[in-house]
Amino acid sequence: DVKVTQSSRYLVKRTGEKVFLECVQDMDHENMFWYRQDPGLGLRLIYFSYDVKMKEKGDIPEGYSVSREKKERFSLILESASTNQTSMYLCASSLWGTSGTGELFFGEGSRLTVL
């Protein structure tokens, strides 16, 4: 089974702190994604990556950056956390192109609270 592991389930940070959210997948998937989940808004795509060192902005990239130095690892970075970034963050991975249908495999989520 595909396993997507997010390093922290719960984090509490202060405004202005730098925050790292780590995600690792073990199925050699090309694509990796970071979503933000808020009540009533569903899942919104922050950034995605289709290859090592490649990244593309999603729908709400402002205030976030990402890093993909290795195929299995995709990090989300909040350079200066703000209270409006309090949310659930979900990492996902998928196969690319005709070898996959785009089915997403999700981690268990990281719930971030910014005080």
Binding site: G42, F48, Y50, E56, L90, T101, E103, L104, F106
Partner: protein, 115 residues
Amino acid sequence: AQSVTQLDSQVPVFEEAPVELRCNYSSSVSVYLFWYVQYPNQGLQLLLKYLSGSTLVKGINGFEAEFNKSQTSFHLRKPSVHISDTAEYFCAVRRRSGGYQKVTFGTGTKLQVIP
């Protein structure tokens, strides 16, 4: 552009009763369709998917969905729900071709099964 509408944010239903969760989508091209389920404090997992062929798709845990192209709908159904089905359900679409195929999610429907 593509979009997904889940009109019902919450659906309460008594145990052993049938349920239907509604999903309508909009897209200018052909799409794949998905339903994901999220149990409390967990990530999302795939419930079922429509790729092609039969418009009635069966998934895990006794759920099924029917693709209706003319009505651009992909409603999820279960003939008899259990307490363990209490969760949030997300409909999603992804276009079939054309570079990176972004997955768009609906805002979710919370299914509450009442004993």
